[in-house]
């Protein structure tokens, strides 16, 4: 394994521990999708994006990330803290009264690293497009990334944005969909089937890539490929196959862990499967 992939994998192990300990401590939150998207967010913040943890809202000259499926805030907060946006010990305040780490991410409490509130689904792609347009107007050649749940794209606003971006050649944008096939009431196939996502997004005019979202080497490879495809006239969409609950055996292969916290025994079991690589907060 290449050194950087090994290091990223170790960081991802620590982030998964953070996620589990955060949701356990407040007995609420969304571990399933957070665990599934851990490798992606670690790769983004520790390898792919040029970003500045001293944090300025305007983000001029740096790559920006927008989390549209805000309920996977645990992974977002852990990655921000581990990247240096704020102290890792603040992760202990997640979802508790007076915290900056609200249940869903917000700018309202001025948490460094968050540029837009999300939680009510379907809004982040439009926001990312707006930020990408401003970069172009400012002559800023850095990129905009966004992440969306597959269930989330059942929201109509996503398709308004999907139509807008190719028409207007928003080619400094890399949007990723977490394709885990699960949503609260069951599988996406049962609830409202998504059909061929590749065919849909290609028909709208996006450059579509596929990625194995829990294989760090593939995540890094495809994200670099995506970057190489920017500024070529098309927005880029990555279909990222993940396993909800990835890294914890009893949380995988089910939508059950979308929005519930482990008990003490389950936490101990889960942590036993994940190496503490950077020190728990």
């Amino acid at each position: 394994m290449a050194t950087n992939i090994q290091q990223l994998t170790q960081t991802a192990s620590q982030v998964r521990r953070d996620i589990l300990r955060m949701v356990h401590a407040c007995q609420s939150g969304h571990p399933g999708g957070s665990l599934g998207c851990t490798d992606f967010l670690v790769a983004l913040y520790f390898e792919i994006m040029h970003h500045d943890p001293s944090f300025k809202m305007d983000g001029k000259g740096e790559d920006l990330f927008f989390l549209s499926n805000g309920h996977i805030s645990p992974v977002f907060y852990s990655v921000l803290a581990r990247s240096g946006y704020f102290e890792v010990k603040e992760l202990a305040t997640f979802r508790k009264l007076n915290t900056r780490l609200q249940g869903h991410p917000t700018t309202h409490e001025h948490l460094p690293g968050v540029r837009m509130a999300s939680g009510s689904l379907g809004q982040g792609l439009s926001v990312a497009i707006g930020a990408a347009i401003t970069k172009k107007l400012n002559g800023d050649t850095s990129l905009v990334f966004s992440l969306h749940g597959d269930g989330e794209i059942q929201e109509g606003q996503i398709w308004e944005a999907a139509m807008y971006a190719p028409h207007n050649k928003i080619d400094n944008l890399i949007a990723t969909i977490d394709v885990n096939g699960q949503q609260i009431d069951g599988s996406t196939d049962q609830v409202l089937s998504l059909g061929s996502l590749r065919a849909k997004w290609e028909a709208f005019g996006w450059e579509v890539l596929e990625m194995s979202g829990n294989d760090m080497a593939d995540v890094v490879r495809v994200l670099h490929l995506a970057k190489a495809k920017t500024f070529k006239g098309k927005p880029i969409l990555i279909l990222m196959q993940t396993e909800m609950g990835n890294g914890v055996d009893f949380m995988m292969h089910s939508h059950k862990w979308h929005g519930i916290a482990p008990n003490d025994e389950q936490l101990a079991n889960a942590l036993g499967q994940l190496e503490e690589t950077l020190g728990d907060y």
């Binding site: 305007d58 509130a117 930020a131 401003t134 139509m163």
Partner: protein, 321 residues
Amino acid sequence: MKKYTYTEKKDTRSGFGAGLLEAGKKNKEVVALCADLTGSLKMDAFQKEFPERFFQVGIAEANMIGIAAGMTIGGKIPFTGTFANFSTGRVYDQIRQSVAYSDKNVKICASHAGLTLGEDGATHQILEDIGMMKMLPGMTVINPCDYNQTKAATIAIAEHEGPVYLRFGRPTVPVFTDPDQKFEIGKAWMVNEGVDVSIFATGHLVWKAIEAGEKLAELGINAEIINIHTIKPLDVQAILTSVTKTGCVVSAEEHNRLGGLGDSIAQVLAQHLPAPQEYVAVDDSFGESGTPDQLMDKYGLNSEAIVKAVQKVIARKHARG
């Protein structure tokens, strides 16, 4: 009593269009987005002057609000334009989360508000928008009264940091305010001083209140008329100063009686200075097709209705002793 006259009638939406062009000339960070209603919103002058700063989003208002919110990151000052109905109710959650809660510097500019949209009927005649917007923490809500005031307000909100809802309309109405006015957000405008009753009016009802004031003078009633162009933040001091003097209130607006300017004033009175109040507003109903004037008459939003409300509220004041 100060006498107001006018030499021409113009639509407030054209005041917005002129103000937007001016704001765009003053500050290159001003950008405009429109959801397929560029001509109706009078945004074409801006589009022509600054094509690279104008964004046609198609019939996709939710996307427009989200894009506008995103554009603020990096310093743009986005003005979104569509009808008031599609500027508010249709995109309430997008405004709530991506603009208000996220504290983004977006200016939501809404034309064809209220009944005076006319023949298109109730689907397009929103009468609830002021209520929806003023409920959002941090949102500034402005409803100017004529072309000049709308133009000045548009220029002023570009210089104000924070989300704003700017509401204006379709019909041509008298132009009677100063073309060179400095618009001060949150500061009520004393139209006419008086002692018998305070008439607080907003939007198209300000001119109706001036007409009512002249009729009332003939009846020996000296009405104080105050233009509340900024519904939020409300000029509480101006309201209290006036009502301390007059002891009774008529509020006048082209909006549902529930949730509009009248309710904001009633809340101030209930808390600080209980006094009789009458509402000139739509009585919790939808509108319908008709000419603007027919609709304003049918729904009781004219100077006769204001005169009647004044007589009633003064009688109530006297009955209280």
